[in-house]
């Protein structure tokens, strides 16, 4: 049986950054397993720019960002095996993999880093009534077809959901000669970045219909059109607002779900708010020696944040291997999201074993203007940061100094205070 110090599941931006960081910590015997035929993960199909402003201080496209990390992986001689699917991870960190060359193989790992990414919410989960014809794709599937296979699935397009991939695909389909009739968004605000609304919709005169959704899909074999209607504040269709949009393509950009089937089978505890593992400050799950980072942990909006987070997971995994055991659980304190905060990553901190300052990442539950982010331990205020605006589409990152945390012995709360 092959044995590794660290097995990294997934060779996307999270997996590569985790591997690089673990190697920088002196971990020699590590390996990345990637199910696709190359490193890079979903970045390979994200050919648009806007990546890397934090990490490389320049604006890169997805494949360029991926290639920079892939080069580091190769320069550091980090082994990676592509077209290799991880089928199972046991609590004892026996990893079962499948590949053409080696068949089904069991491998022993001292530590495992989960970096499997996320998937898109499909039409079925959205319960959109109507037919199930050809021409309905998730935005990411269409992106893969257009950018990686050179196949443009349609000419007249409607997009449901204003997630970033949907916005990016509105522009992409337009550049490929299609006409995008509208982007409908159920919420009264977009879940995508502002810059994408301007550069992908406004630039091309594509209307963004807020508080609208698709209520019917027409066409038995091939998509013939969709009915879009306005919704009220309870997301109920407002009668009389239905409008038919003829189209041959409907793209869905209605949210991403961390892909945690392997984690669940391994017994990793999942946070129902993020759909990702519950982790501590070292991004270690509740299974000893199993770490998580990137979109499998919680869905990010910036790959730069993924890389940074994954580097911490790599560092912690290296520390775990060197130490040979998990942190002392008696020093664990909880981080509790309160008013206006949907979740936090991490969900707990081991104050006795801190490797350094602690990042707390979270999203807010709605749009907040002129407010403060307040982090407290009991009545003791650890952080107070003023903000002009907070939106759910932006992941927030607050760093708490190691020294401040070491003396904390009660649970920590994170909340939004409105003025």
């Amino acid at each position: 049986m092959r044995e590794f110090d660290i097995v990294i599941v997934g060779g996307g931006p999270a997996g590569m950054a985790a591997a690089v960081s673990a190697r920088e910590q002196g971990m020699e015997n590590i390996v990345i397993f990637e199910r696709d035929n190359e490193l890079g993960g979903i970045l390979n199909q994200c050919i648009h720019n806007g990546f890397g402003l934090h990490t490389f201080k320049e604006e890169l496209t997805g494949p360029e960002y991926a290639e920079r990390y892939a080069e580091k992986v190769r320069d550091m001689n980090i082994p990676y095996e592509t077209e290799t699917m991880v089928l199972d991870i046991s609590k004892e960190r026996v990893v079962t993999i499948l590949s053409r060359n080696r068949g089904v193989e069991e491998i022993r790992a001292k530590a495992v880093i989960l970096a499997m990414g996320c998937r898109e919410r499909p039409r079925g989960a959205l319960n959109i009534p109507g037919f199930r014809p050809q021409g309905v794709y998730t935005a990411g599937t269409a992106q893969k077809l257009v950018n990686c296979e050179g196949y443009v699935p349609g000419k007249e397009v409607v997009i449901l959901g204003s997630g970033d991939i949907g916005l990016i695909m509105a522009r992409r389909m337009t550049l490929e000669g299609a006409h995008v009739a509208a982007v409908a968004e159920l919420m009264p605000y977009s879940s995508g970045l502002k810059r994408n609304i301007v550069q992908c919709l406004d630039d091309f005169g594509i209307p963004l219909l807020l508080s609208h959704t698709v209520v019917d899909i027409k066409g038995k074999e091939k998509l013939e059109g969709v009915v879009i209607a306005e919704v009220d504040s309870t997301n109920t269709t407002i009668a009389g607002t239905e409008q038919f949009y003829p189209c041959d393509t409907l793209l869905l950009s209605c949210g991403l779900i961390p892909e945690n089937e392997l984690s669940k089978n391994c017994g990793v505890g999942i946070d129902p708010r993020t759909n990702g593992p519950i982790v501590d400050e070292g991004l270690e799950t509740d299974i000893d020696g199993v770490f998580a980072c990137g979109n499998v942990l919680h869905v990010h909006d910036l790959v730069d944040f993924v890389s940074e987070e994954a580097a911490r997971a790599g560092e912690s995994a290296a520390a775990f291997v060197k130490r040979g055991c998990a942190p002392d659980s008696t020093s664990a304190i909880k981080i509790v999201p309160k008013n206006g905060v949907r979740y936090t990553v991490p969900a707990e901190i081991h104050t006795a074993d801190l490797l350094g300052d602690v990042h707390i990442r979270f999203r807010v539950t709605g749009v907040y203007k002129d407010c403060s982010i307040v982090i407290k331990a009991g009545d003791d205020e650890l952080v107070r940061r003023k903000s002009r605006i907070l939106v759910p589409s932006e992941m927030l990152d607050i760093i708490i100094k190691k020294e401040k945390l070491e003396s904390v012995s009660c649970d920590i709360t994170v909340e939004i205070e409105e003025v």
Partner: protein, 116 residues
Amino acid sequence: MTRNLICINCPMGCELTVEFDGGKVISVSGNTCKRGEIYAESEISNPTRTITTTVISVEGRPVPVKTAQPVPKGMIAECTAAIKAAEVHLPVKVGQVIIDDLLGTGSQVTVTKSVQ
């Protein structure tokens, strides 16, 4: 003339009203900070965008490319058409130049992903 813009510098998304004459900005209102003013200025005087797209290689595989510098926003359609028309043979390496000066914009078009 006036135009309404949404500032893209931060999630605030300030709704800007710009008063201008030709390419010259007279006043900007609705912004919360200096960055809004700078954004409005460039959007009015010379709005530019980076184009990212694919070129289908002679061998039939899509090759992702970008304009190395932003090009005038008004030229997106013709620039995209010119990029699409470029002849590319595999293999290509990231950073490889496939068009030296895109329609006189001064921007190169470069490959963003190595394709075998």
